[in-house]
Symmetry: D2
Subunit: 381 residues, 4 copies
């Protein structure tokens, strides 16, 4: 094929390594893209596991050190899917090497760390993106479109949750594969950075900047065994995080995330109430948008359940036919499609590293407010 | 008060005796009626129980024989809430005595029986009504209004169910209080007359006459103990009844009723699909109407959940405020309100005895088709 | 009848006058009570309207001044259904006169006012109750029972909302019939006292005392016309109120109420997450309880939609049969039934005036926190 | 790689060509399979379009005549995704050439045609499968497992629908790309073969053989323009098809399919009611199973919404993590995975060609009953 190629180097082979690999493979099959992503190389410390991963997904080569990946001339884009404590160093090195950079969220463990990453990509002038994948759920994009069309009028309320229940057991250890999320030194924070960051990124995309927050966090289980050391150690992450907030547009908001909401697996929800319309969505049935329009005939007013599977819904003409739903991994595929399509356009698509930093200004304010027990103003620079 | 009174004589004190008593008491409190219903007398065979019933509900006197009730000059209206095998005799006697007659459904055990009742009230020229109460669910009346407004266009499909699960146990006996419904000699039929009759009455009100049917019935448990005789006897009612049908307007329909649908208590459902709109409703959440309108903006099309509690919804301005739901017994209250309001209007309100007969033409055809295993045309005279 | 009578004197004939009148009439028909409530007298300032109201509901006499009602020897119980600014004076006078007192919520406009009312009824030793009617929704009582049975284990989260949309229009005036709720001098506060008080009363009944709160309130529309004076005046109530809180049992909570949530009429919701179980409920479908039990077979775990209409569900054996729902007004009927049943028992049933005061300690802390922008500890005495 | 390869030859590049291509690509990435499917060649008449299709999906070569494909030695498996009127000829030729055969549903246009195909594969002793993909929805497999575990007891009822609305417009033409489904000479029948066949295949898999049927079909729009000829011609397919049925296990059933149910895109539903349990599912939210178990604590009984995304749910440990849903195309991927896994096992997995024939015995009986207006017994040989 004469199509231009985009050579990808992936760091990490965990859960996110799988979602990204799938997205790079699927995007060009369902979307007409200016570049053909090529799975050039994947890097990770464990040679056997990375080899097996590469074989399965079709990565052409492996490296045991991400620095090798950054040094290779045949790599155009570095995709960071390793734990949070590695993001900054890799991203900065990649940017300095002139690579396009994609990075899993949250960008850094703190806004300070994220700031150095933003500086690096902006100084280098390289295209960049953070994997806040839920922005690419078709129902959410549809909501964004409805807001941009001015259908909601003045916004009064925003509320959003991310409810999970996988850490309730005292017996669950921390550390190691998949469990680094419970270790604050690796993750930076608990649900604030892992879950609320998604809520915040989406909220600011839909409803604009957040001005101030008052937050509370909880660590319900105080000690856990660390599987890497065998020791029982204090848990330093936030198990739950809740805050009230004011947006710059004057709307009042509630945010909540937890891993202790028995019965909920990955219940990311949002609702927005405007003068003329309201809408709600949740991740457990991600192909639905609930919409209430005040302008309809009075007696017929109600919440309309829009099954986001039609050809005139975002992304859906590229998939199947009306009524047939898509799932979770498609959000990553959409992100690849949009990002690759933007490369020659001169117009960056969000969420950029700078967008990712804006989210961390909020998560920092949340974590600080939980300590100070005061309202905290969200930084903007 | 100078308001004219309407003196009621009730026959029966069972479940339906309660719903009717409540309706006569409540209707004038919530609706402005030309007549004040007066609970004059109630009749039933067991003197202790009828006395207790009368005391509780405020019936001014009791009779042990319904014939006495019919003979009394101070009674304007005979309300029949006794088992099906008593309907015809009482209704005919009441009509001959010049009383207004209200009768529980089904009107008779067969169309033939029902026909004699229609003749009696029409010959006597007395107002009459059958208690197909579900026509008075606000959401259903709203649907009728939407149909009458021409919002659906040509109708293609109608489907309706009445699913219960209370007779699944082999240990459940038949006969006696509340269990006469399992005894075909008293009830006339099983679910066809008890449940499907509701579906049919509502279907013909909404979608016009039914032309032909092909049916299947089942009796899953073949023998039960009769509590009145102590004997184990064959069950002669239909435990389940299903039929496909064509309406005169060309729409295709499915009807089903059963007492063997584990998990469903009183799940009366209906759905209607037209060229321009569709709607569905069910009794378990009777205050909702689901409505799909094709004419809306394409990408916003979906099923709207209308919470039927606003002042511009049928009957609802007489109850509470938006968002506050009403329940089952209100359908009887509405029926009293509408019937009493119609008495001086010269315009009968349905379902009249004649409407009740039309339904029995269909139930007769259904029961016959289940025997003949052929399509049966529904009688009209 | 030889049944003892309980002579009621009602103050107020507005929306709540209707719900209470209906409850006093209905309770003895559906529940076996030790006293027969007698609708002795109703008092209100407008003689024509109160006469019409009394005629409709069967109140035997009328008074134009509530003081007359309190003085009458033939009245056992004073029921206060007039605007908030009248509660304290009437309740205190009634208690001093030795009357049983029932009072609409919120008890007073402030905790200080409520405290004087508690003192009055406790000094007088008279039975007393606040009409936090939603405690008597069968699904909510069922939830209380499940909690008391220890099915939830340690509680981690509680969240609750009361969402309405009836004051969004700038054209809506304040003051006068039904609109006194927008006038802070009459109502005391906006949604905090009117709506959140319900959420708080129920939350503390289910989950115990609230320790501390951090709140935000908003007044979206700053000026409205007062229909009583004709002048455009500043709006002093809170249009929306949100707070995060910690319960004494360590659980983290979010509360929110508003009259600006387009599309929601009276959406009172709650959810509670425990170690072993979770449950949720909302007022728009008040006959459902959603329940998640962790102990079930793993692959079968899910949220069970319990249709609270069976004979073994709270209150329901007194109504109809499984599958047939009840509505809003039944909560008041249950409250009358429980209160009357308790009169001879020596055991007061909640919510008592003291319970009502506890709720106002929270609403006061919420309103204060919204001003101070600090966490406020909830008073307990 | 040393993994054995399975060389695929695909016939057809339409909608089903896409779903199959995706499934062959995705299955080995998410499932550990004994063979690596290789996209060897695709055949279709239009050389430009087939080339473009092959390039996009990675088919290594193209053929303009399916016969070439069958003749090629480097092809192990012929996959038929072309219109219904081509199935028999291709399948028989492929079987005779000793190829493994997969075929889109319905197998043939009639049972007679399907029978020749069964004979061919059975005579040749080649592995074979029909793409009734919905059997591989995880929620449906879970239901099958629950039934096999004996959790339902005696089955009383089965009901299933497939509701669409895409042919309501009189302006929709027939013939040509995607519209051959409206041309009876190509499709064999309308919704009976296209939609009901899915319902029937799944019903018999879950609930055993169907004994007898009574059916009605409708053609609502009598004439359409044929885009291939430009002429307006009579429509000979069934637009809607409904039937009542008895299964061999004694349960009573209703089936319905239509393309005239305004508001429904691809609403495949099913419900089964047993003595001890009931369950329901629908394709619009395919990741949910509704389950009612009678044995639970009485007051806690209800319908449990099982979100089929956990590791102990069928197929789901191969995808993401709890709470994250999959979609439509995954059913094809599962079918490839199961079929490839079975090749060396000696145990065929359904639906085989013989299973496909059993379904056509039912669709033939349905179409015949609609003509004869009698109950028709379903053939078994």
């Amino acid at each position: 094929m004469s199509k231009k190629t985009l050579n990808i180097g992936l760091v990490g082979y965990g859960f996110m390594g799988r979602t990204h690999s799938n997205a790079f493979r699927q995007a060009p099959k369902f979307f007409d893209l200016p570049y053909e992503p090529v799975l050039k190389a994947v890097s990770a410390r464990n040679p056997d596991r990375v080899k097996k991963f590469a074989d399965n997904w079709g990565w052409q080569s492996v490296e045991s050190d991400w620095k090798k990946l950054v040094e290779r001339d045949d790599i155009d884009l570095i995709d960071i899917a390793s734990p949070n404590d590695t993001h900054a160093e890799i991203a900065i090195a990649a940017a300095k090497a002139g690579k396009i950079v994609m990075c899993e969220k949250p960008l850094g463990r703190t806004a300070e760390e994220a700031k150095t990453m933003v500086k690096a990509v902006e100084d280098a002038g390289v295209a960049n993106m953070v994997w806040y994948n839920y922005r690419r759920v078709p129902a959410v994009v549809m909501l964004k479109d409805l807001l941009d069309e001015g259908r909601f009028g003045r916004i009064f309320h925003y509320r959003t949750q991310f409810l999970q229940d996988w850490t309730i057991s005292q017996d669950l250890p921390m550390g190691g594969e998949g469990l680094w999320r419970l270790d604050a030194s690796v993750s930076g924070s608990g649900v604030t950075g892992d879950l609320l960051a998604h809520n915040i990124d989406m909220a600011m995309w839909l409803n604009g900047p957040i001005k101030e927050v008052s937050a509370a966090t909880e660590t319900f289980i105080k000690e856990r065994k660390n599987t890497l050391t065998g020791e029982v150690v204090p848990v330093k992450i936030d198990d739950a995080s809740a805050f009230i907030a004011r947006f710059e547009n004057g709307s009042l908001a509630l945010f909540e995330a937890t891993r202790y909401a028995r019965g909920h697996k990955a219940l990311f929800t949002l609702e927005i109430n405007g003068e003329k319309a309201s809408a709600s969505w949740d991740l457990h049935d991600l192909h639905h948008l609930q919409y209430f329009d005040y302008k309809n005939d009075g007696k017929l007013r109600g919440w309309t359940d829009i099954h986001i599977t039609d050809g005139d819904h975002p992304y859906m003409k590229n998939w199947w036919v009306p009524g047939l739903q898509i799932g979770y991994e498609h959000t990553f595929t959409h992100q690849v499609a949009d990002f690759v399509a933007s490369l020659d356009s001169g117009k960056p698509v969000g969420p950029t590293f700078r967008d990712g930093l804006m989210t961390e200004y909020v998560t920092d304010a949340v974590l600080k407010s939980a300590q100070t027990k005061k309202w905290e103003t969200v930084a903007t620079e």
